[in-house]
């Protein structure tokens, strides 16, 4: 490739000299030989500009030879009749060589300036690019791409994986395929010193492994594949590599610092949330405990002065408060399971009527004489759901309605199929939701602004949302026209309900039972 290019440049020089010769032959009749030498000089300068120093000298040599052969008597021989022509040749050659060299140097300088400019521009682009990246992996991805492209090398990067080892994060994995290169890059990461830099410093290692250091930390290692022997890394490219590396190291450091800051902020917020939760939970746990302890100790220390009715009341307090504590702990456990993602939804085909019925049975003691109107569409198919979890959704919604509804007004539970969804509604008549509460009621530890006689921990609706969400459904709250709140659960009905082999026998008990 390089050889062919060089050959091309010399061929160009020959062509230019041939051109000068052709023009000289045309002009010969009207000019002095001295004029023709100027023509040749022009050719040499053009060669120097276009092809550099070597071809320019070659052109100078060829020009002298051609001039001697064609235009100096005796013509068509290389012999020279007059000694003055020897001086002409010498001057001609010297002028050609000097102008050629000067022009070629100018050309080199210009080219180098261009390269420098390109590289500065590429450094600038890299720094702009890196500034927009967040995260070490992204920064390295961008850096490896740009560096590899601008230097014509294959590049790769490794990061410490946080467990004392390294992991490949960006670039061309084949760079780190040879075990020697892999261990060289790990060693650069471990010791924070470049390996294989400058090239050839360590035998057996062809790549350059450059630790990206900011402050005292080695944040990553950049590995560039060894360049091919015909195109060795010149000092200028090595300089570029250094510049790229320190730019990338700075970008990595910026990422690390901003990540640290973000983590610190997150910790502060988590800490704040945790202490708020803790104070709320401990209040909710202590209140029933205080009632239980008080009632139990009163009964224990009683020497017969407490009447039967009061004793009964104290016993009721203990049992009610214990039940409240039990519900609270259950809710806290459910919330924890939902938030930790350890909740498993075991969907089976269930009859919603049965699930609602079981919920209401479980709530009997809570509801007291509160009426619940249940209306379930008779054509409702079996619904894919986790019965244990969904029973809890219904229970929490009905209990919530009971808590906030005006006494004496029934709670309504309605279910029907709407397009390809189950729509389950629980509605009450009462004060309904406060302004802007439609979303907030589902937040954990949120208690309604409408004071209820005895509010829970504010977890019931949050659990509902978690369970419905785990089923792939949605839950929403709204105010009803005419007062009261309406909660709507929508569950998608995926799959077709299973079929049942119908019995052939008639409705006659006493038929064949085998």
């Amino acid at each position: 490739m390089a050889l062919r290019e060089r050959g091309g440049r010399y061929a160009g020089a020959v062509t230019i000299v041939a051109g000068a010769t052709a023009i000289s032959m045309i002009l010969e009749r009207h000019s002095e030989p001295a004029d023709l030498t100027m023509l040749y000089l022009l050719g040499v300068v053009i060669c120097a500009m276009a092809f550099g120093r070597g071809p320019a000298i070659a052109a100078a040599f060829l020009s002298v030879a051609a001039f001697d052969f064609l235009f100096v008597p005796p013509r068509f021989t290389f012999r020279v009749a007059e000694t003055r022509y020897l001086v002409t040749f010498a001057v001609m050659f010297a002028v050609a060589a000097i102008t050629g060299t000067l022009t070629a140097r100018l050309r080199d300088q210009r080219e180098r300036a261009l390269v420098r400019e390109r590289r500065i521009a590429s450094l600038h682009r890299l720094s702009q690019d890196l500034a927009t990246r967040s995260g070490a992996a992204e920064v390295l991805e961008a850096a490896v791409g740009r560096i590899g492209e601008s230097l014509g090398l294959r590049a790769a990067a490794i990061l410490p994986d946080g467990r004392g080892a390294a992991k490949f994060v960006a670039g061309d994995p084949s760079v780190l395929e040879p075990p020697a290169e892999r261990s060289a890059s790990r060693s650069a990461l471990l010791h924070g010193r470049p390996v294989g830099f400058p090239p050839g410093a360590v035998t057996g290692i062809r790549g350059l492994h450059i630790p990206l250091i900011a402050g005292t930390r080695t944040n990553a290692v950049l590995t560039l594949s060894g360049s091919d022997p015909e195109n060795p890394l010149d000092p200028e490219r090595l300089e570029m590599i250094r510049a790229y590396s320190s730019l990338t190291a700075l970008a990595l450091e910026r990422c690390r610092l901003s990540e640290d800051a973000r983590l610190a902020q997150g910790q502060i917020e988590a800490e704040r949330a945790r202490s708020a939760l803790l104070s709320s939970v401990s209040h909710d746990l202590r209140t029933p405990l205080a009632a239980i302890t008080g009632a139990a100790s009163t009964l224990r220390d009683d020497a017969g002065e407490i009447g039967h009715a009061t004793r009964r009341e104290l016993a009721d307090t203990i049992s009610e408060e214990a039940e409240r504590l039990n519900r609270l702990i259950g809710n806290l456990l459910d919330m924890t399971r939902l938030e930790s993602g350890s909740l498993r939804v075991k969907k089976e085909w269930h009859s919603l009527e049965e699930v609602v019925g079981a919920s209401l049975t479980r709530l009997e003691s809570v509801l007291g004489d509160r009426e619940v109107d249940v209306s379930i569409a008779p054509d409702l198919p079996l619904i894919p759901m986790d019965d244990v979890l969904f029973e809890q959704v219904v229970r929490n919604l009905v209990e919530n309605a009971h808590k906030y509804a005006t006494p004496g007004h029934p709670i309504e539970v309605r279910a029907a199929l709407e397009r390809n969804e189950l729509r389950l509604e629980v509605a009450d008549r009462g004060d309904g939701l406060g302004a802007g509460e439609e979303q907030r009621v589902f937040e954990k530890f949120y208690r309604g602004s409408q004071a209820a006689p005895r509010t829970g921990a504010g977890l019931g609706l949050a659990i509902c949302r978690g369970i419905v969400g785990a089923h792939g459904g949605t839950i929403a709250a709204a105010n009803r026209p005419g007062g009261g709140a309406l909660f709507t659960v929508r569950l998608p009905l995926e799959g077709t309900p299973p079929t049942i082999d119908r019995e052939g026998a008639g409705d006659v008990p006493g038929g064949d039972m085998a």
Binding site: S319, A322, E323, N326, G330, L333, E348, W349, H350, S351, E353, E354, V355, V356, G357, A358, L360, T361, V372, V374, I376, L382, D387, V388, E391, P497, P498, I500, E503, A505, G506, D507, V508, P509, G510, G511, D512, M513
Partner: protein, 248 residues
């Protein structure tokens, strides 16, 4: 604690108070159970480990076992299986909330019923009475050929079912499901058990059959199928035929 004198032994049984073995590692719960049970006229023996429990069950021949599933030395389910190797005495397991799988496993291992902690004494006593009564009836089929549960009347001999005196026509499977539940009235029957009994061993995974037929039965027998009083759902575990107001 109110002192109420309730006969511990079911009506018709000898007037010797029933002997209850409590296998539970927590001392507070043992104390509360002893106080409550003795207050109701039962006799009580206690064991705090599975090993002691098995020994007591074998040597003292109690009438009923209350078994905590979370024992320190041996899994409660293993205790159920060990006792079932030689004895049919009623076993009621005490489980923690949210352990539906344990309940099902205990029932399938041969336990008669379960109570979820925390439980109240009346709840436990109701389950114990049902279990003891069932033991009395145990044997080849129901002693009497007619069973009455509230308004429901099942005449096994003539295969007739009626509610408040009105005959109710049932399909063969509905009838089989109803009688299986009635024969074990007061006890929880797991989905698997019911499917095996009513449909056969090949159907134990087809739980939707059970749900569809339970719905049909409720629509035929319950006053309000949406709020059953007779055919109760034990969510996640199975079904229970209620024995009347006291059993639930």
């Amino acid at each position: 604690m109110t002192q109420r004198t309730v006969p511990a032994a079911p009506p018709g049984a000898p007037a010797v108070p029933a002997l209850v073995l409590v296998v539970e590692d927590d001392a507070s719960i043992r104390r509360f159970l002893r106080a409550g049970l003795e207050g109701q006229g039962y006799r009580c023996i206690e064991a705090s480990t599975a090993g002691d429990g098995i020994t007591e069950a074998a040597t003292r021949s109690p009438d009923l076992v209350l078994l905590d599933l979370g024992l320190p030395d041996l899994d409660g389910l293993a205790v159920v299986r060990r006792i079932r190797e030689w004895s049919r005495i009623p076993i009621i397991v005490l489980t923690a909330r949210g352990q539906d799988r344990d309940k099902i496993d205990a029932l399938d291992s041969g336990a008669d019923d379960y109570v979820t902690k925390p439980f109240s004494l009346p709840e436990l006593l109701a389950r114990m009475r049902a279990a003891l009564r069932h033991r009395e009836k145990a044997g080849p089929g129901p002693g009497g050929s007619v069973v009455e549960l509230g308004a429901l009347r099942i005449d096994f001999e003539r295969r007739r079912v009626s509610v408040s005196g009105t005959p109710v026509p049932l399909t063969p499977i509905e009838y089989r499901l109803l009688t299986t539940l009635a024969r074990h009235a007061g006890r929880v029957l797991t989905h698997e058990f019911l499917l095996r009994e009513v449909w056969g061993p090949a159907y134990t995974v087809q739980r939707h059959y059970l749900r569809v037929y339970m719905a049909q039965l409720r629509h035929k027998l319950e006053a309000d199928p949406g709020r059953p009083r007779l055919l109760m759902t034990e969510t996640g575990v199975g079904y229970r035929m209620s024995e009347g107001p006291e059993s639930d």
